[in-house]
Amino acid sequence: MRLRVAVACAAFLAALFTPLGPAASGQVACAAEEGPRAALVVDTGGNVYRLCVRLDATRVSGLHLIELASSQYGLTYRFGEGGQAVCMLANVGATGDDCFGEHPYFWGFWVGDGSGGWSWSGSGAGSVSVGEGGTHGWSWDTGDGPSTHRPPPRTTHRSVCPAPEKPDPSRPPSTRGPVEGGGAGSAGEGAPGSSDPASAQPSGDGTRAGDRSYGSRPGQRAGSKEKEEKASRRRDGEKERERDPAASSPAPSASSSGVAGAGPPLPKAPGGSGPPPAGVAALGASAALAGAGVLLARKRRSSAG
């Protein structure tokens, strides 16, 4: 009984601490044109991506919404720590196994309040579901709570997902299908402005699942340079956070802020290799105390019995 519980606990812990790779996505087809749709807003600090995601169920979890957005738009993402936390979105985020590896920067999770505003989600994206008309937002910023973390720009579901009766002429519905490994998606003509539906476009250079690079907006430098640009923009957080909220819509000029190598490096874990010597001393003292306790208990038991 006890052994079984211990084995179950160990398996649970092992499962949780095993970092999963990018979830194999893309098998979720989104053939039906009718059906529930949810808006996904990804604010990397330099770019804002607004994606109208078709759902494969009445309600899906926030994590599955990202997977769907990946299969439909080629949004890159990486979940970490047992697939329950979002490490990286649109090539921005923690690169290691630890989703808080870039702390104080992390992906804040917001839920749309229906009128364009955002409310901070107290629970993880795996346990928050979204259905027709719902909006989920992710912003890459510092701050541990709704008062300090910067929400994504105001976005309504309707502005991202226009009424299905009159589809956006610039983006034929057929291009909203799954993008398998990239290369199949047709680049829509994104109109400038925040009301642009699905401003992200699938690019054609991704070959591996989970490592598809992200399409760029018109007027923005594209390709592999964008990766470096975003990495440096991440370090440029001080500047980015102070930017005008009105400028949070992805204007072409936003790409000019990326200067590689600029900005101070993020704080890293102190030490890193082993426990501090005083900690070893503490452990030794604890072991000595515990040994003394065992001896005392044995002595008392023998004297009592």
Partner: protein, 264 residues
């Protein structure tokens, strides 16, 4: 030699506050070890003798619960470790309290209360001693049910264990209140059959509690790190002074234990 029960109260409060102040695993394990050695040296023959182990297992449950809760939020290695250590902090506080239960006699505490405050003191002592009494009742009921062929270890048979334990607890409380009333407890002058002298071991116990508390309070005051860095995850800073101060928490173990023949 008897350590005065009030000294144990001071020691417990100090140990609990020290544990409350830190999530550093090195400090927490030191407090745990100190509590364990004090329990081993002073555990009282009586209903409270099992309370250390029971509170320790409750502590494990606390760690498991606190860790499970984190999986409802954004999960990272750091957040899991932070949650585990917060659970461990609570667990160590429980263990310190379990040590208090196993080394001190709550009825001796009751005798210390001034007559004017007798009733609140009685209520608080009843509350303090509910855990050891429940544990005692649980052990007895379990043995009795095993004689009847009911294995109380299984979840299905939990009512067979829980209901008698709860009713025994109620009965005991009512019986106690009635008998105390019948003896005129809390009314008139009080007599003491045995004095509880405040002696050197009591001073030692109080000092053993206040040294680590003072050191930790100073660390809080000066802003020295007492917590585990979880974001990003890293080794915590450990100061040798704090380690030495926390070892002082185990000083009461040096005191020779109370006479084991003494009634509980």
């Amino acid at each position: 030699m008897n350590v005065h029960p009030a000294a144990w109260v001071v020691w417990t409060l100090c140990g609990g506050l020290v544990a409350l102040a830190t999530t550093n695993p090195f400090y927490l394990i030191l407090v745990f070890a100190a509590a364990w050695v004090v329990h081993a040296a002073h555990r009282h023959p009586g209903p409270g003798i099992r309370s250390f182990g029971i509170f320790a297992s409750f502590g494990l449950l606390t760690i498991a619960t606190r860790t499970a809760l984190v999986f409802f939020g954004p999960v990272s290695r750091g957040s899991v470790v932070a949650a585990m250590l917060e659970g461990a902090r609570l667990a160590v506080m429980l263990v310190v309290y379990g040590t208090f239960n196993s080394v001190s006699d709550p009825w001796r505490l009751l005798r210390l209360a001034p007559r004017r405050f007798h009733e609140p003191a009685l209520a608080s002592v009843l509350a303090l001693s509910i855990a050891p009494r429940m544990i005692d009742a649980g052990v007895r009921v379990r043995e009795a049910q095993r004689l009847r062929g009911i294995h109380a270890g299984r979840l299905r048979n939990m009512p067979a264990l829980a209901v008698p334990v709860l009713s025994t607890g109620m009965e005991e409380a009512v019986t106690l209140a009635e008998s105390m009333d019948a003896r005129g407890h809390g009314r008139g002058r009080r007599s003491r059959y045995r004095s509880d002298p405040w002696n050197v071991p009591s001073w030692l116990t109080v000092v053993a509690g206040t040294i680590p508390l003072a050191y930790v309070a100073a660390m809080v005051w000066t802003g020295s790190p007492l917590t585990m860095p979880a974001y990003p995850l890293g080794w915590p800073e450990v100061s040798l002074g704090a380690v030495a101060a926390l070892i002082a928490l185990a000083l009461p173990a040096l005191v020779p234990p109370a006479d084991p023949i003494e009634p509980a």
